[in-house]
Each structure stands twice: as C-alpha cells, then as structure tokens.
Amino acid sequence: MDIKKMRESHKLLAEYKYELGKIERGYANRTLYVNISDNTISSKPVTETMKEKFVGGKGFGLWYLWNATSPSTKWDSPENEIVIAGGPACGITQYAGTGKSLVCSISPLTGIPIDSNVGGYFGPLLKFAGWDALEVQGKADNDIIVYIDGNKGVVTIEEAPLEAVDGHILGEQLTEMYADNEDDKRNVAVVTAGTGAEHTRMGLLNFSFYDPRRKTTRLKQAGRGGIGTVFRNKKIKALVVKFSNVKGNLNNAYDQSIINKTGIKYHKEIHDLDHLQNNMRKIGTANIIEVMDEYDLLPVMNFQYGSHPDTEKIKSTVFIEKYITQGVQDGCWYGCSMACAKAADNFTLKTGPYKGQKVTVDGPEYENAAGLGSNCGIFDPAAILELNFYCDTYGIDTISFGTATAFAMECYGRAIINKEATGGLELNFGNFETAVELLHQMSRGEGFGTVIGQGVHRMKKMFVEKYGADADFLFDIGMEQKGLEYSEYVSKESLAQQGGYGFTNKGPQHDEAWLIFMDMVNNQLPTFEDKAEALHYFPMFRTWFGLYGFCKLPWNDIVPEGNQYTDEPAKVPEHVQNYLDVAYGVTGKRLKVSDMIRESERVYNFQKIFNIRMGKGLRKDDKAPYRSMGPVTKEEYESRQERYDKQLKEIGYHIEGKTTEEKIAQLRKYREDQYEQLMDAVYKRRGWNSKGVPKIEYLKEIKMDLPELIEVVKDLQ
C-alpha cells in the first residue's frame, strides 16, 4: 500500500483548531460536533443537566440523537447522527473493562434508536483528545475521513478517495498513515465499516486498537442495528483519533486511590480464578458454546433446537487448541486483565478477494460461533472463523447475518423459496460455501446476499409478496422483533428470557437481561412478580454500564471467592460494589445500588419514549415470534416431546389421543397467554401503563418529566 500517495490525495474540506483542555473527574465537559454536509465543526458544552439526567455514554448519545432528529427522520436522512461517547469511567486503566464506547444512531433495521457498545481505543482516546462525545451529522458528497489530532488540537474533514473500504485493510492503512512510527501506532484508533455495510442494512462499525505484539491492527465491533450502514450511507470512510500520551491518571479522578485499590483486588481474582471458572483469558466469551449446548440453549438451525451432537466439533477447546493464540495479553483497552479479545493468527482464508492470505481473525466470540455456526447448521471451526473474518472486514453484524441466514436456510429447506429466488445458491443448512458466498455478494452488492442483508423483517414481507409464503408461519419462525434479529440464545423454556428479549428498547439483544439460568434452571423466578422484578433490575443495572463506559463482562464472567455465601449470588454483589467504588473514585459521586438503578431508569425511559416518538415502543411492538416461546413445528415438538407433554399435563391438559398438532396448539395458547401476563407484570414494575407507555407520575418520580417527553406520552396515558 502506498500510504504517501493516499495521504497526498486527501482534499482538506474543513479544519477546526481547539484548546486541548483538561479532563475533570472523568469529563472533558465538551463534545465535538461535526457536520459533513456543510463541513462545519464546533464544540458543545456538557451541561450539569446532561450529567444529572444522562450521565454520559449512551445517555449522551441518545440525548444528542433526540435533539438532532424528528419523528419523521429515517436512518438515511441527513439529520440522522452517529454519536460515539465513552462515559466518565471510560479510559480508566486500573480496572478491567473500562474502555467501552457507546454508539447511537437511528437504525436502518428498526427505524428507532439503536445503541451498540464496543471496545477498542477510539472512545478513550477521543476523551483524552478533549471530547466526551463525537456527534457526526449530515452526508458527504464523496468519501471522507474525520481526523481528530488530540496532540495538536486539530480536527479535519478530508476527502479520502484512495483508501480501501474493508475494515481490516483500512484500519491498517490509517494506523500506518497517522502514526509517526511503529511505537506511535498504539496512539491511533480508527473507526471503519466495510464494503458489505454499503449494500445491506446490517452494517457494523469496527473500532481498532493496535496490537504491538502481533504488529497488527485489531478490530472490535459495534455490531448491532446497522450503524455501519448509516456510516457508509453518509460516505464516511473512517473516523480517526490520535492521542499520544496515555497515562493512568488522565481522567483526573476524584479519588484515584480507591480505583487503584479496587483494580488490584479484581486483577488478583482474575489471576487466581479465571482458569477455574470461565477461561475468559484463553477463549473469551466462546467458553460457553458447549455449555449452551448442554443446557439446550444453543440455537441450532434457525432456533429450532437447542443442541446438536456436532457441537463437539466447535466447542471452545477446539478453538483453544487449534486456532486461538494463547499466552497473549488480549485486552481491548489498557489494564484489562480479563483479556478476552482473543484472536486466531495466521489463519489462511479459503475464499473471496483475500483468498490465500494469512490474516488475524478477531474472535470467535460466542455469538459468532453460535450465529455463524450452529444456527446455520455449520459445525466447522475453520468455516466459523472465515465467516467471522469476512463479516468483520465487510462490516456485517455477525448476529444479524447468522440469524437472517438461518431464517433463509429454513425457508429454503421448507421450499418457501427455491434456487430461482436464491440466484442458484444451494441454501441448505450446513452449507458453508453458500454462507460465505452470501457475504461476498453483500460486499459486491449483488445477488441473494443483498436480500438477506435487508434482514429478517423485510425478507418475511418479500417472501410473502413475491413467493406467496404463509405470512403467519414466517412470523412464527422469523427470529426478529422491532426489525432486529434475535441474538443467539434459545429462550423457549424461559419465560423470563422471552421477556428479556421481547421487552427490550432496541430489539432482541441479550445485553439488557440474560435470565435463562435464574429462571429455567435455578427456578429463582417462580412468579410473574419475581420475573418482573428481574426484568426491571437487570436491564437497569446493565444500562448503567453503558452510561459510564464500563464493560459488562468483568461483572459476572468471573465471580469472587465467597460469592456463594452472599444473599444474591447471581447479582455478584462484591462486583457491583466495585463498580460503585470505581464510579465514585472517578466522579466523586457516592452512589448506592438504588441510585445506580435510578440513573439508568432515566435513560432507559428516555429511550423508551424516543421509540414511541419514532412510531414504535408500544405493547404491540413487544409481540414476539412464537419460536422464541415454544415449538412451532411438529419436528420441534417431537424432538422434545417428553418435556412438552409434561408441561401440558401439569397445566391440566389431557394429552391422550391428541395429535402433535393439537398439542402444539394447546401449548402455544398457554405460553402466549403467559407472555401476555408477564408483559402486564413487567410494565407495572417499570412504571408503564398497559400500553407500554411510561406514566407521567412515574416520570416525575424519577425526575425525567422533561416537557418534550411529557409531550410524547401525555395522550397515551
């Protein structure tokens, strides 16, 4: 690559100089606004009200997005924004998982706000460059790069015609371009999408960090909701930030010593216990592949089943022994001893434009292995890694791709679509060659790949209109809600998790709540009220991570010794206190758990009302596909007949002499009714009315009765 030539071809469209400033208690106290339509750049102050109501991170992102858009804004409207914000704890180097950014935009898949959290260095370096958030609005005429030089205090918008688009190449090119030398590369962070993001609605953003041991640019993904599609639609090729003097005290914390103390305690836990618990340092989140299979929770063939004998071939130890480089400190931000950002080095690609090249594959994470693997009936670790690589570099969300491809494969298997529809592709479960070709088609913008790239919601409509498919059946088996594809867990046997997916703000992603063990296995949530309490606490607790810039994984992917003796071991109380201590250390705010929940309630309900403002967010939008609740087909029922027959007997239904179809119908009636009852209980617990609308009195109670919010909900009380 001729970096010099690429840089010389840049055309400067705008330049903005700023004072470098200083961070106080985790806040730079200003945010950066960049408009790429009219090439204006400006600084906005962070107000005390913003901090009080929205804290930072996702809170700031949603607030800016609300102000930038109107109810008629579409994902590709110029006024739609991409907002990246870290939060006050972002950039701490003494505790694990403190480099997260939250990215918000109006989603091409759902039409409502999406938030996606991501590691890598961009968020922390952005803050150290002087900005609590970056807000990008408008649409460029030609491909541009926004460059933030946090050393010199200069922001530029530059046309960049020659660089690649695919994430793994562009990340390398820009790291090389903006670093002064090899040592300086760790001071450069790049956000990219990829060619596939241009031709689909499920584009992701890659956030880079330079790995000096591997001498390569690594990529972490803001995967959900198609923000990469927005990015490329705006003709943004990349966002780059440079800051060269990362130190442990740059947040200018209120009490650094408590952060240090908490961090040392936690690092020791990781060192002593990780190998006895989840093996995050060896394989990252993929440690649970075989666990999910064992508990019948691993999605197999479009969520029809929860386990498969061939899972043995893709279990975590296979990746550890054959592919994933061991003994490397794989943290995606400084100081993360959990180090779960694993990678397969020297992986030789078998297909596509980079065929034959040896690459570093960032992953697989659990969702990749389950979505690209078992859910598509693919039980080949090398195939999963290749799909993982191409998803990342093309800028395609592995979860949406996996779930959407699995749906299309089932439709093909049931002759709902045929080879004519797929352009000649044999779209059967287990067909890696076809799955990877779909990705290449997404990159090229052609063929059936671009149909899958529209997501399950639009495929359902298309298959009904074009091929006469049964709309009700497609609704049952199409694993999407609000337009977003389900993430990779089978929720059929956990009513709480059906709600954990179904009552989310952004769509069915498990980052609000994962309650399957508590509910299905532990039986800790026997009543609707118990489930509703969990569906209040956990989504609020987990929202809080995204307000401060924390990663969720260090919370419960390892637990301290003695956790079993606490009153509520599932909440990991000691780690909750760690977070409160670190947040106190940074900001000086001494929060209790109830304060933490209250902070989240404000932002959570803000997002809920944002959804309502955009035309979703009501009870009807929380309706879920039946496959998330129970067996749709005869094959599914009969594969777990003993389980389903037992439940029917327990509810007093006489199964003798009944056909499978009759039993399916009866079970469905029962389970759908349970889901509705759960919805009532959860809405009540969350302070919403039966339509799913926050009550004004509740908004007053949580101090979120902003006039613009009341305006949206007042006629829906």
Partner: protein
C-alpha cells in the same frame, strides 16, 4: 412413601447413595460456576463427591451466569 428431594424447588428422585456429584451428572450440570447448597448450607466443590443427600433434603444448584 415417595422418595424425593427438592432440587431447585422441584421434585427430584432420591436413591440410596445419592451425592451432589451424582445429581450433577444426572442433570448434566456441567457449568463451572454453580453454587451448591444443601438445606441452606454451602457445599464446596471438593466435597461434591462425598456429600450424600437424604430423602426430603432441599438442594439448590444455582447457576451464576446472569448476564450473557
């Protein structure tokens, strides 16, 4: 008399010589982060094999992953 224990507050058949380890094998509870209690008392992992469960005991096997 029905020979059962309560496992996570559900009925589970009891048999002579039933231990924590045997219950976990029968239930295929392979997850590494499980808190085990018998009648409210925490049982450490190294004691699973030797800890026998009696008829009517209340056994909890709490899987800790609550996050995903």
């Amino acid at each position: 008399m029905v020979k059962i224990i309560k496992l996570n507050n559900r009925d589970f058949p009891w048999e002579e010589g039933l231990t924590i380890k045997k219950i976990m094998e029968k239930k295929r509870y392979t997850f590494p982060k499980i808190v085990v209690k018998v009648n409210g008392k925490v049982i450490e992992k190294e004691d699973y094999e030797k800890t026998e469960v009696n008829k009517g005991d209340k056994v909890e096997m709490i899987h800790l992953l609550a996050g995903g």
